[in-house]
Symmetry: C2
């Protein structure tokens, strides 16, 4: 297999990111391409969750993936090999988030004509990515059981901006002091409308619920 | 118990953080106060590790703790209640890291006269805190088993700037695909001199090794 495409992302020059994000959203809408921004801490299982989700959706939607990472190309290669879905790597060169212009630089490396869905795997970080609108239609995040159920208390903005919170690694619930009900309550303190979906990306449990949520989102948005 | 002290940290006005960090290091040296900067992802167990470590060291060193967090006061209260060690909360107001000037703002809220050691628990984030010298003598980080052994590949700067990498949650090694030898190898790729210390903060296993490392560091530095 040939090497994965890597794009070195440059710092944005635009001052008004919100305006730029709205413009990008409109552009993508006119092309019928739904952009999902997926965020989480390092090590929460974003890539494994994505692989499972892509394998459930790839026959229903035309999808591409943009993997943002400080430096390595590990994830984009892994995703392409495990799913066959076109996947490119965005190098942020130490930058801790992506804004709309940086997302646009990434999209320029994807052949988006005819696509239904682009998933942006943002930099592993619960702080900075929450502050920058990428131009996505929806924000999703993954919180894994070992991180603890108190995270919505400690990273309020991230949980406020997310439309869906996937709770990953539920297979290890017996080994951690993680209270799923309390977590749900804290998530809803931040965003009462957020959908909470418990999954285990390793075994696949619950991933169909997330995949269905995403499929419904894309289909509803296409009809708007 | 009365409420924990909270300091709202403001954005730094200094342009040259490295210079400012060196100046802060010198000031602290003249007062005999060793500053340790402790970093990690959200949910890696920084606070639990700190509590164990403080309980091992509090009769040997005079210590204070600064807990940096976006918003909540959960950790400072927890640490003070569990150890009796003076602990204050730094609110970063959404900022994803602390630099030297922000650390200085925090230190102004600690009565440092006569202290041997101040531990700064930095914001939970593997990206931004690595970029800013806080003025600490040493940087420590905690990587937890559920995050995966590949993290030094994906967050190179963080692992390059750390003098010690504590591998936490080794009690759950049987439930995760985490290769301790590989992790050690990756850490040393980034920083050949980094000390790697496997621990379980929950049970206390190995925390004595980390506490001894820190005690030796402080004592050696005092004699320099």
């Amino acid at each position: 297999m040939d090497e994965v495409k890597v794009i070195e992302i440059k710092k944005s020059v635009f001052e008004d990111n919100s305006k730029d994000a709205d413009a990008l959203r409109k552009e993508l809408k006119s092309k019928g391409v739904y952009l999902l921004n997926l965020m989480s801490s390092p090590g929460s299982g974003k890539t494994t969750t994505l692989i499972r989700t892509l394998n459930l959706l790839k026959d229903k939607l035309r999808i591409a993936v943009m993997e943002a990472d400080i430096d390595s190309d590990v994830d984009a290669v892994k995703i392409r090999e495990a799913t066959g879905v076109p996947s490119i790597q965005l190098h942020t060169g130490g930058m801790c988030h992506l804004d709309a212009e940086m997302t646009r630089q990434g999209l320029a490396g994807v052949d988006i004509d005819g696509l239904d869905l682009v998933i942006l795997e943002n930099v592993g970080n619960l702080v900075c990515p929450a502050e920058f609108d990428t131009g996505a239609v929806r924000n999703a995040m993954i919180l894994s059981v070992p991180e603890g159920h108190d995270k919505p208390l400690k990273y309020p903005l991230m949980f406020s901006v997310c439309d869906v919170v996937v709770i990953n690694k539920i297979d290890v619930l017996p080994y951690f002091d993680f209270d799923l009900d309390k977590c749900r309550e804290y998530v809803h303190m931040r965003n009462p409308r957020a959908r909470v979906i418990p999954i285990c990306a390793k075994t696949g449990e619950g991933v169909d619920v997330f995949a269905q949520w995403l499929l419904d989102q894309v289909n509803e948005w296409k009809q708007q």
